[in-house]
């Protein structure tokens, strides 16, 4: 991530951001953006492996999966979906405001985003705690009385893997957001050139997008 954004150089004049290998800033920004997308594509394929496993196991154990879904905390899952969607908006809005030169609003919305992200993780922690209390833990320790079937174990193993990996990405996203706040506050990211903000935003949206799929897979019964 961080390696791809321009270095923290002292001057704020845009031309000094230009790396020697690029002809002009527009081209450089295009390159950074393309690079970020390629990186995001790579990230998505990391999750894709787990999605494929989910699809395969759901085919194999459809009844168990349905039963396990009924034991999920739909309320928290749905609340978290709303939280992330709104946070995606606030990031986008923060960038939008900066594009229009409104640094203060940008900072405010970045801060809101971070609060929402933290809220998401807090909900997630509550949910995990609840699972643990019922003997639903990842791996060999699994001891749920209500859902002893093998398919349910697979379901929860996948659940912990996928939401856990997602939560790790959330934590990473929060760190990036924190860094962006300092960049904007110190006027390193300017209305004229703020590629790092765009990239951080892209990352955040990606993490949100993954959750948009996790929600129906792990909460919605149907």
């Amino acid at each position: 991530m961080t390696t791809m954004t321009p270095p923290p150089d002292p001057g704020e004049a845009a031309p000094r951001r230009l790396e020697p290998q690029f002809a002009d800033l527009a081209r450089q920004e295009h390159a950074v953006r393309l690079g970020m997308w390629v990186f995001l594509g790579s990230e998505v394929l990391l999750f894709a492996g787990l999605f494929a496993l989910y699809a395969a196991y759901r085919t194999e154990y459809s009844a168990d999966f349905t039963a396990a879904l009924h034991h999920q905390n739909l309320l928290i899952g749905t609340a978290n979906t709303f939280v992330l969607i709104i946070s995606s908006f606030t990031v986008a809005w923060a960038i939008h405001r900066l594009r229009h030169g409104d640094r203060r609003a940008c900072l405010v919305f970045l801060a809101i985003t971070m609060v929402l992200g933290a809220l998401f993780l807090a909900f997630k922690a509550i949910e995990y705690g609840d699972h643990f209390a019922h003997g639903v833990v990842p791996g060999r320790g699994y001891a749920s009385a209500e859902l002893p079937a093998r398919g349910a174990r697979v379901f929860f193993n996948l659940y912990f893997l996928m939401t856990g990996l997602h939560a790790l990405h959330m934590i990473g996203g929060l760190a990036v957001m924190g860094w962006l706040v300092t960049r904007v506050a110190r006027r390193r990211a300017t209305p004229a050139y703020h590629a790092e903000l765009e990239m951080g935003g892209l990352y955040w949206h990606l993490v949100d997008s993954v959750w948009i799929f996790l929600w129906p897979l792990f909460y919605l019964t149907g």
Partner: protein
């Protein structure tokens, strides 16, 4: 390869509309899961998720301003996810 954005920069309205659409779709998806429309409802939920992700990508992630190459990346990635899932599920479902 042109570096100029093809579309004008995304305006404030776009974001607000996108947010509204996303919230509405989430609510719809939730409601649908409550009324339990049978076996198809699961596919419906996934379809709604796909639409949501497209909205996020198109507006929030600025795909509407992006170059062809960038959009191509997004498409290729989706294609490969489909290939991976299809190949594996086909084995499990058919053996």
């Amino acid at each position: 390869m042109t570096t100029e954005p093809k579309t004008a920069a995304t305006g404030g309205v776009h974001y607000v509309v996108a947010l509204a659409v996303l919230l509405a779709l989430t609510a719809t998806s939730f409601a649908l899961s409550r009324v339990a429309a049978g076996g198809a409802s699961h596919w419906l939920a996934l379809a709604i998720a796909a639409i949501k992700v497209m909205v996020v990508g198109y507006v929030f992630m600025h795909l509407r301003e992006a170059t062809f190459a960038t959009r191509l990346v997004a498409l290729v990635v989706l294609l490969f996810i489909a290939i991976l899932c299809a190949g594996i599920v086909a084995d499990v479902a058919l053996r």
